[in-house]
Amino acid sequence: MKILVCLSNVPDTTSKINFTDGDTKFDTNGVQFVINPNDEFGLTRAMWFKEKQGATVHVATVGEASTEPTIRKALAIGADEAIRVNAVPVDGFFVAEQLAEIVKNGEYDLVIAGRESIDYNGGMVPGILATLLGMNFVNTCISLDIDGNNATATREIDGGKEKIATTLPLVIGGQKGLVAESDLRIPNMRGIMMARQKKLNVVEPTSSNNLTADVKFEKPAPKGKVTLVDADNIDELINLLHNEAKVI
């Protein structure tokens, strides 16, 4: 089985978000970049397929040279080979088209991407990619088993979960649940040394239309001061929620 894990290079979850250039660009100053958490759960599940079912695992990202530390981390965790599409990711459709080209050329059986990146939250790359290539697709995937050409996946739905049967070739939009938080791997020294010798192919983007563009950014309005209620005066809290906030 040949697996491609799609990685997005995103600000660490603890990052404070600021904008620059007249609020037209994300300010990367002082921001630590990491593998998108939803992608990292998928990468870890791919490592399981590699170790238990002999899968080959490649990783791909669409980004400039500055994303290479993130790709190297994935190689250090155990991916066999990496591909970087040398382009600034414009929007989800653009990224999906670039990745579709890689999947087509690499003849992958399974593509694992995160359900969404935690920066622009588009949540569309895996689904567009699957549809462009006529592959099956399961979103918000929290468990995945492959047996020959058959796949059993569980997806999170509002208020529960649904088990789905399908076949390869398959694209999933993954998230926590594919593996547990405690299963995530920190690269060890040997992995980091080996990653240096692994192939990182850089390819140029195929031409693509830009269908959407972020023209301006805003930060949320500052929050007003909290109204404190004495722990011995719960009646007052109920009064405020009923008469002032009108939510009960």
Binding site: M124, A130, I157, D158, G177, P220, I234
Partner: protein
């Protein structure tokens, strides 16, 4: 050239978000000087959408579509868009709709912008405001493709009544076997209880509750309020509560009217995930907990004393206001 909106139903009944997206579609149609058409699948009261400004409903009755299937549903919406020559399609943010949206996007080569929080800033050029960076910011995004798809955030625009008469027309899409290459084999869903996605009130517990054995009072408080229960990331990582309850940046987003955080300090990732909730109440022993800076109302106190008192007082309140 009408604005097309997919109004989601469950067991024949429209979901709460169906009225919200219908109201949104009406607003967009008004801005563009046209009307709003809904596509509805196996709903029993299609004409009722007229209350929310829908002029026409394409009503699909098809047993093959009794269970949600993303590709098949995307095909239906795509065919409806073609029939109506719709250039703008409005979708909700439910798990099912976010599943079908990218499929539809690829089929129609559309520009798709999800997580939109308000009516378009303008429709020519077409600009919408959406959340980015997991609610830590907003972007004004321009869609330049011929067909535009807008995903409306839960509970952001709200439902507004606009009395219109909806003409209901049967719609019979053509669906081949290639629409059904993924098969639902088991659905495990809580019934009769509010879910985090559509609850008006969410009651959430954190590590301050000390252990899973103490969740009885969280569930009781939720029951009194008709609320959904949720938890912080450490609580789900420790296995005290199921993963499906984890709210925050890498868990589920919350956009309820009221969010009550109990024993949750308020890590930046958690605050981002719940920031779309309209009113936030925090109960915590530590007055320095970051959540107090993000909350509307706060009680500094021990959850084990405050919550039982709150339950008791709310029961009295509910009895008086019943």
């Amino acid at each position: 050239m009408s604005v097309l909106v997919y109004t989601e139903s469950e067991n024949g009944k429209f979901k709460k978000n169906a009225h919200e997206v219908a109201s949104y579609a009406y607003e967009v149609a008004k801005q563009m000087g046209t009307t709003a058409t809904a596509i509805s699948i196996n709903a029993s009261d299609a004409a009722g959408l007229g209350d929310f400004g829908i002029s026409k409903v394409l009503n699909v009755s098809n047993d093959q579509l009794k269970t949600f299937n993303a590709k098949a549903f995307a095909n239906v919406i795509g065919q409806a868009a073609e029939k109506e020559s719709a250039k703008v399609i409005i979708l909700s943010s439910s798990a099912d709709t976010k599943f079908l949206a990218p499929i539809l996007t690829a089929q129609l080569k559309a520009g798709y912008v999800p997580n939109v929080v308000s009516a378009p800033e303008s429709t020519s050029p077409f600009k919408v405001k959406r959340t980015v960076f997991s609610n830590k910011g907003y972007a004004i995004t321009e869609i330049s493709s011929e067909i535009k798809i807008v995903g409306v955030s839960n509970n952001a625009f709200g439902s507004t009544e606009n009395k219109t008469t909806a003409a209901v027309e049967n719609f019979d899409p053509s669906l081949g076997d290639d629409s059904f290459t993924t098969k639902s084999i088991e659905i495990d869903k809580v019934v009769g209880k509010a879910t985090i996605a559509d609850a008006d009130i969410v009651v959430s517990g954190g590590r301050g509750l000390k252990g899973p054995e103490n969740w009885g009072m969280i569930e009781e408080l939720a029951e009194v309020l008709g609320a959904a229960t949720a938890c912080s990331k450490p609580v789900s990582d420790l296995g005290w509560r199921p993963h499906g309850e984890h709210v925050g940046q890498t868990g589920k987003p919350v956009a309820s009217n009221l969010y009550i955080a109990i024993g949750i300090s308020g890590a930046i990732q958690h605050l981002a995930g719940v920031s779309s909730s309209k009113v936030k109440v925090v109960i915590n022993t530590d007055p320095e907990a970051p959540f107090f800076k993000a909350a509307d109302y706060g009680v500094v106190g021990d959850a084990f004393e405050v919550v039982p008192k709150l339950i008791e007082k709310l029961k009295e309140f509910k009895a008086q206001n019943a």
